[in-house]
Amino acid sequence: MLANVFTKSLRDRTLSMLIGSISLGIMLWFGMVVYRDVDIGFYYENLPPAILDLMGIPATGDVAGIAFGAMYNLMGAFTLAGLAISMGAYAIAGEESDGTFGLLLGNPLSRQGVLISKAASLLVMTAFGTLVLWGFGLVVPGILDVDMSGIDVTALMLALFFNALVYGFLALGLATFTGNRSLGSGVAVAVMLIGYLGASLLPLTENLGDWARVFPWYYFSGSNPVVNGTDWGHITVMAGMIVAFFGLAFVGLIRRDLREKSVDRTIFDRLRENPKTQKVMEKIAGSARVSRISTKTASEFQGLLVIAGSIMFYLGLLMPIFYTFIPEEFTELVASFPDALIAMIGGADMGTAAGFLQAEIFSITGPVTILVVTIVMGARALAAEEERHTMGLLLGNPITRSHLVVEKSVAMVVYAVIIGLATFLGTWLGSLIVGLDVSGSNLAATSGLLTLMGLAFGGLALAVGAATGRSRVASGVSTGVALLAYFMFSFFPLSETFAPWAQLSPFTLYLGSNPLVNGMALVDGVILAAVFVTLVAVSVPLFSRRDLRG
């Protein structure tokens, strides 16, 4: 057994797995603290079991059920699966493009041996993350003295584990079969997100419910293991998928030529090489792209923009249409939900069209999408030039450090605005098509506030990156603050003790005024913009006083 390939792969990933699972555990703690303060007797008196089931709330449970539903069922599953995807996609294909796979095979190791070691480390690392979550799931309720009856933590953990492995091995299989790492991770993330939406939304409809089985996510959440215990049939299906994806990787790796150290070729590169399109593309992908720092920076993230922009546009387009499929009884029922439950689905009143859009687009998906873009751009803006050792070359040119900060920020502003526009256009068109009763100007206002909130967190990432020169620290801190801010906005108002603090959250500035109903909250928008501008301004001295690396 290639003990050192195995252990090295584990070592590379332990930190991110620890950070991911511990922050989830802390959020579980938070969730339970907040829900303990709230009267949740309502659920058990007024809601039919079927609905409780759908929300992941055990029929006999208490605080624990809601907290588990909110934290582990959704965020826990995404986090574990996301980490598994990144590990699986990198395993072989990443070593190839880094040029280290050849180095590895310079030793007396077989390809298959390396693959098996990598797969084993993926398995063990996912198990490790699951165990940390499990530990929190057992310890936190004990400390807080929360009633755990009717909750099957073990079954949930087993499902979480297998679910994460499905996507991790899908990424491993595709990336290893093709030698293309971004293909592997891209497809796996897409399958996961589409699957989550499909498996959660289709059962709400009258006729399409059975189609949910098409999606892998169904085998994780469909049986609602936290309430119903382990569904071994579903576990078997997931295990089967994992084995099949591993087989794909195995066959692919044996058959194909290994890649040398290389950079991915984009569609622009192909068009640029084609004689027919060469002249035009040379302008677009060549000279225009490198005309200044901001356009060059923007071009580095064009893939991210295309994905984020299309997600927001198409979801915006689909959700209003989907709303019309939902039976009226359901929306009426949701309208009677108590605040605590509504908070769990993003603080929106699902009974109205605006509320539905807020829940499905603006409260979680929109912020996550735009924050990924702005935080990644902000964190990498300055720090990545240092980490890639291009800062010296770049600043060898006659430009000031403050000019660099401004140019990088301009690229971030442009992208945030484009995503805001895509969100607005998608939801607006979708609403027009089905004649939904939502005001276009309110949609524009909400999208605008979304953009500004994204920029506020992007500015934070920029400032931390400027001060530390480390993009991981910058994105980690900003993501942490964003999670906390979301928490403050959605859960703090439920508790009298915490409620005043909710006002400090950028999420409150964004959605607190309910802009989908009330239109633009000018003051909130100005504050968000001011936060962004201040953070950019602060970045300049933070960056200028430092000894740069790279």
Partner: protein, 301 residues
């Protein structure tokens, strides 16, 4: 601007916490010269370069480039300086041509014909993505970026990494041409042979301190060489032993071998006065020896 020294540092010092990366460096690089900056790995060469380019800030002391203060006028300095970092990293997704366009835009434009000329001399492939190039070919793109704006001062940190011998020669010619035009080259290196071929003067740095600055010619005459002389008939050892700088003469029939640290001119004149010289072979390994002496810890010079 030409009256000003290209680089002038006064007690330039850089500490990283307890670590002293650069101590009291006083150095002057003149206009119109190629200055070699020699030292072993980790001696402080890169720290010095990054300090005078304002990428890192000195703990004490100051530096001026072309008469401009390295901290106050950093941007104006970079307008007149071409900089090639060591272990060159570029944006792997850009082609060589893109890199040149990008940096030319950041500099407010460069002479395109000159860029083409440089690319041709270095046989650089500018159509490929930088990430797909071998290290030598990537280095060529870096050299074009450094030369293309015809800067007053070129600061290059280990520039010939990965270049094949032919390209190294072309590159050395390019550096000499810069000096002939009255501009300056500051060349950091840890290999003597490169510096020796192209530099007018060398500075030697060891353990964060400047050990010595010398004209290359003086160094060369100081160097102890092994000289082998071949004649068309038998020779006598005494003839050579009389020449200043000659030691350890060994003679075997037509053949004389000796250690020598004097003027080559004197030795050859003596040899040809007495005999018919057929072949000369000198080994410069001993020049390397001098540098190894400089490099060694605690060595006295």
């Amino acid at each position: 601007m030409s009256e000003q020294p290209a680089i002038l540092t006064e007690t330039l010092t850089k500490h990283y916490g307890e670590v002293k990366a650069l101590v009291d460096l006083d150095l002057e690089v003149r206009m119109g010269e190629v200055f070699g900056f020699l030292g072993p790995n980790g001696a402080g060469k890169t720290t010095m370069i990054r300090t005078i380019l304002d990428l890192i800030h000195p703990t004490s002391g100051r530096a001026s480039i072309l008469g401009l203060d390295s901290r106050e006028d950093a941007v104006e300095i970079r307008r007149h300086v071409g900089y090639l970092p060591s272990d060159l990293s570029m944006y792997p997704n850009l082609t060589g041509r893109d890199m040149i366009t990008y940096f030319s835009n950041l500099r407010g434009g460069v002479d395109k014909a000159y860029v083409d000329d440089l690319a041709e001399r270095l046989q650089a492939d500018l159509a490929k993505k930088v990430g797909d190039l071998s290290s030598g070919n990537r280095q060529k793109v870096g050299l074009i970026l450094t030369f293309m704006s015809r800067p007053q001062l070129l600061i290059m940190d280990e520039p010939s990494t990965g270049l094949d011998p032919l390209m190294q020669r072309e590159f050395q010619m390019m550096m000499r041409e810069v000096a002939v035009e009255g501009r300056s080259v500051f060349l950091s290196s840890h290999t003597l042979s490169e510096v020796q071929r192209v530099a007018d003067r060398v500075g030697i740095i060891r353990n964060a301190r400047l050990v010595d600055v010398e004209f290359v010619d003086d160094l060369r005459s100081k160097a102890i060489r092994t000289v082998e002389l071949q004649f068309d008939g038998p020779v006598e050892a005494d003839v050579f032993a009389a020449v200043p700088g000659v030691r350890d003469v060994e003679v075997a029939s037509h053949h004389a071998t000796m250690s020598f640290d004097g003027k080559m001119d004197t030795l050859l004149r003596t040899a040809t006065e007495h005999y018919t010289l057929v072949d000369v072979n000198t080994q410069e390994a001993d020049l390397e020896e001098i540098f190894l002496e400089y490099y060694r810890e605690g060595a006295t010079v």
